[in-house]
C-alpha cells in the first residue's frame, strides 16, 4: 500500500466573481508515493504544483477526488483526527521568510508543531527542536535568534528543521531551494537528502536539474495534469512528452555552447575578442 495515494484529484478556483469564470488548477490527477520514496514534481509556474501540495495537507479543499494517507481517506476526517495525521506530514513552504513567525525565536517556532503532542513537556519539545537544528546543520545557539537576524539560507534551514521536528513520514517541500546560489544549494541538498533518508518526500521544483539530483522518480506536471512520470534517470535521458523535452532543452548548459545559443536566439559576442588584462 502506498504511503500517499492521490486519485482523481480536481481543484477548481472561482477566478472572478464578476465573470463567474473558473480555473481548474489540478485536473483529475493521480499520484502515489511509497514509504521512503523521494518523488520530484516538476513543472512551470501555474502548472498546479503548489495547489496539489496544499491540497494534500488540506490547506486547500479539493473540489473532487480522494487523498489517502497511510490508507486513511483524509476526506471526512474530524478536525482532531486530521490534525493527528497532519503531524505526520512535514511541509516546507516556498518562502522561508513568511514560514517562520518573525516575533518568535527559532527554538519556539521549530518546537511549535510538537505542541499537539500532549505527552511532551516544554523542555522535551525544546530538546527535540535543538536536535532538529543540529540535523540541518545550524548551531544550537541559533535557537535564541529571530528570523530577521539570520541569512536567507539559514532561514531555509530553520524552516526545514521545523518541518522535520515531528519526524514525519512524508515531507512536502515546495521550491525549498529556489534562488539560492550553487554553493548554498548544494549544502541544502545534503541537508534534505539527510532528512529524507528514511522519510518519503514530495519535492516540488521548476528545475529539472534539481529534481534529477534528489529524486528517485520524477513526475512532470502541465496544466494541472501529470503528463509524464518515471524513474529520474530514464525520464531525463528518454523524455517521451514534447513538453518534458522542451523543459530539458531550456536548461542552459554549464559551459559556453554556441549550439544551444543559436537554438534560443542568443547571439554570440558581436565584439572583437577582448583583451583579458583590462
Amino acid at each position: 500500500m502506498p504511503l500517499l495515494e492521490v486519485s482523481g484529484l480536481t481543484v477548481t478556483f472561482q477566478a472572478s466573481r464578476r465573470t463567474e469564470s473558473s480555473v481548474t488548477a489540478v485536473a483529475d490527477l493521480d499520484l502515489e508515493i511509497e514509504a521512503g520514496e523521494v518523488v520530484a514534481l516538476v513543472g512551470e509556474s501555474g502548472s498546479g504544483k503548489t495547489t496539489l501540495a496544499r491540497s494534500i495537507v488540506r490547506l486547500i479543499e479539493p473540489t473532487s477526488g480522494t487523498i489517502r494517507f497511510d490508507g486513511v481517506d483524509l476526506n471526512g476526517l474530524k478536525a482532531r483526527e486530521l490534525a493527528a495525521l497532519r503531524s505526520r506530514i512535514g511541509f516546507v513552504m516556498q518562502d522561508s521568510v513568511t514560514a517562520l513567525n518573525p516575533r518568535r525565536v527559532l527554538l519556539s517556532s521549530i518546537s511549535s508543531p510538537l505542541e499537539s503532542k500532549r505527552s511532551l513537556g516544554r523542555s522535551q519539545r525544546e530538546e527535540l527542536a535543538a536536535k532538529s537544528l543540529e540535523r540541518v546543520g545550524l548551531p544550537v545557539t541559533f535557537g535564541g535568534k529571530r528570523p530577521g537576524e539570520i541569512s536567507g539560507g539559514q532561514r531555509q534551514r530553520a524552516a526545514i528543521a521545523r518541518a522535520i521536528v515531528t519526524e514525519p513520514d512524508l515531507l512536502i517541500c515546495d521550491e525549498p531551494l529556489a534562488g539560492l546560489d550553487l554553493m548554498t544549494e548544494s549544502r541544502m541538498l545534503e541537508v534534505l537528502k539527510e532528512a529524507t533518508r528514511e522519510t518519503a518526500c514530495l519535492f516540488i521544483t521548476h528545475d529539472l536539474c534539481l529534481a534529477a539530483n534528489v529524486a528517485d522518480r520524477i513526475a512532470v506536471m502541465e496544466q494541472g495534469r501529470i503528463i509524464e512520470e518515471g524513474p529520474a534517470v530514464e525520464l531525463l535521458s528518454r523524455p517521451a512528452h514534447p513538453h518534458t523535452r522542451a523543459l530539458i532543452e531550456a536548461i542552459p548548459p554549464a559551459d559556453p555552447d554556441s549550439t544551444w545559443r543559436d537554438r534560443h536566439g542568443i547571439a554570440s559576442s558581436v565584439q572583437p575578442p577582448f583583451d583579458a588584462a583590462t
Partner: protein
C-alpha cells in the same frame, strides 16, 4: 576594440552600523556594446556593487564608499550618492529580480510607462510606450498597456521591467539576477531579449547572477567575486575552459556536476 563606457576604480563599500567591509578594492570596466557578467555566491558583494554604481548607496544603508566611478568619461566619487543617483535613468538603467514589485500596483502599465517616458525622455506618448513593449517582445502591447502588474505573469512583469528600463534610452543596463526564480523557458527567452537589445541598441549590459550557466551563454567577459573581492576575470570562453583560480574552478565544477545527471539527455 571599443573603449569603456563605465570604469570602476578602487571601489570599497562599508555597510550598516557595524560598517562591514562588503566590497574591497574592486576594479573593472565595461566596454560599449559588451555584456560583462559578474558571478559569485550570495554575500560576494555583487548587488552592493550594482547599487553603488547608480547612487543607491544611501538607500542601501551604505556607511561609507571610496573609489571612483567613471561613466562616459565623467568621473564621480563613489561616496557622492547624489551625483551617482543622477546617472539613474540618464545613461544607466537597472532591472532586478522582482523589479515590478517595487512599482505601485494601483496604476496601469500604460500610465507607468508614459510617466517614466515623460520623466526621463520628455516623451509622454502612448505610441512610444507601445513601441517599447513591442521591442521587449509583446505582441499585443495595447492589452499590456491596459493591465495592472498583478494581472501579468512573472515573466511578463519582467519584460515590462525591461521596457521601463529602456524608456530612458540607457547606454548601460544593469541586470541584477534578471531571470532568477523564473521558469527556465522564460529565462531562455529573456536571455535572448538581452542579447537582442545589445545588438540592436549597441547597449552595454552588466549581468549579475549567481548562475554560472547564464554567464556562460551570455557574457563576453566574466568577473568572479568572492567576499567583496575580485577573484578573477577574463573572456568567458577562456575562463570556463581554463580557470586560473581554484575558487573559480570550484564554482565551475559545481555548476557542471549539478547538470551531470542531464548529460545523458
Amino acid at each position: 576594440m571599443s573603449e569603456p563606457i563605465l570604469v570602476v576604480h578602487g571601489l570599497n563599500l562599508w555597510l550598516g552600523r557595524e560598517r562591514s567591509h562588503v566590497v574591497r578594492e574592486l576594479d573593472f570596466s565595461l566596454r560599449r556594446g559588451e555584456i560583462l557578467g559578474i558571478a559569485g555566491e550570495s554575500g560576494a558583494g555583487k548587488s552592493q556593487t550594482a547599487a553603488a554604481l547608480i547612487g543607491l548607496g544611501g538607500i542601501e544603508n551604505t556607511a561609507a564608499a571610496t573609489g571612483q566611478i567613471t561613466f562616459a568619461g565623467d568621473t564621480i566619487e563613489a561616496g557622492d550618492f547624489n551625483r551617482l543617483a543622477g546617472l539613474r535613468g540618464r545613461g544607466i538603467s537597472m532591472v532586478t529580480q522582482e523589479s515590478m514589485a517595487s512599482l505601485t500596483p494601483v496604476r496601469r502599465i500604460g500610465d507607468l510607462l508614459t510617466e517614466t517616458l515623460e520623466r526621463v525622455a520628455s516623451d509622454r506618448t502612448v505610441d512610444r510606450a507601445r513601441e517599447l513593449l513591442l521591442e521587449v517582445g509583446f505582441t499585443e502591447p495595447d492589452r499590456i498597456l491596459a493591465s495592472f502588474s498583478h494581472e501579468l505573469s512573472g515573466g511578463m512583469r519582467q519584460r515590462v521591467a525591461f521596457a521601463l528600463a529602456l524608456a530612458a534610452e540607457p547606454q548601460v543596463l544593469i541586470a541584477d539576477e534578471p531571470t532568477t526564480a523564473l521558469d527556465l523557458r522564460l529565462q531562455a527567452s529573456l536571455m535572448a531579449l538581452m542579447s537582442r537589445l545589445r545588438e540592436s541598441r549597441g547597449m552595454s549590459i552588466l549581468l549579475i547572477t549567481h548562475d554560472l550557466a547564464v554567464i556562460a551563454q551570455m557574457a563576453d567577459r566574466a568577473l568572479i567575486m568572492r567576499e567583496g573581492r575580485l577573484v578573477e576575470s577574463g573572456p568567458t570562453d577562456q575562463l570556463f575552459a581554463d580557470p586560473g583560480d581554484p575558487y573559480t574552478r570550484r564554482l565551475i565544477e559545481q555548476n557542471r556536476s549539478r547538470r551531470g545527471s542531464l548529460a545523458a539527455a
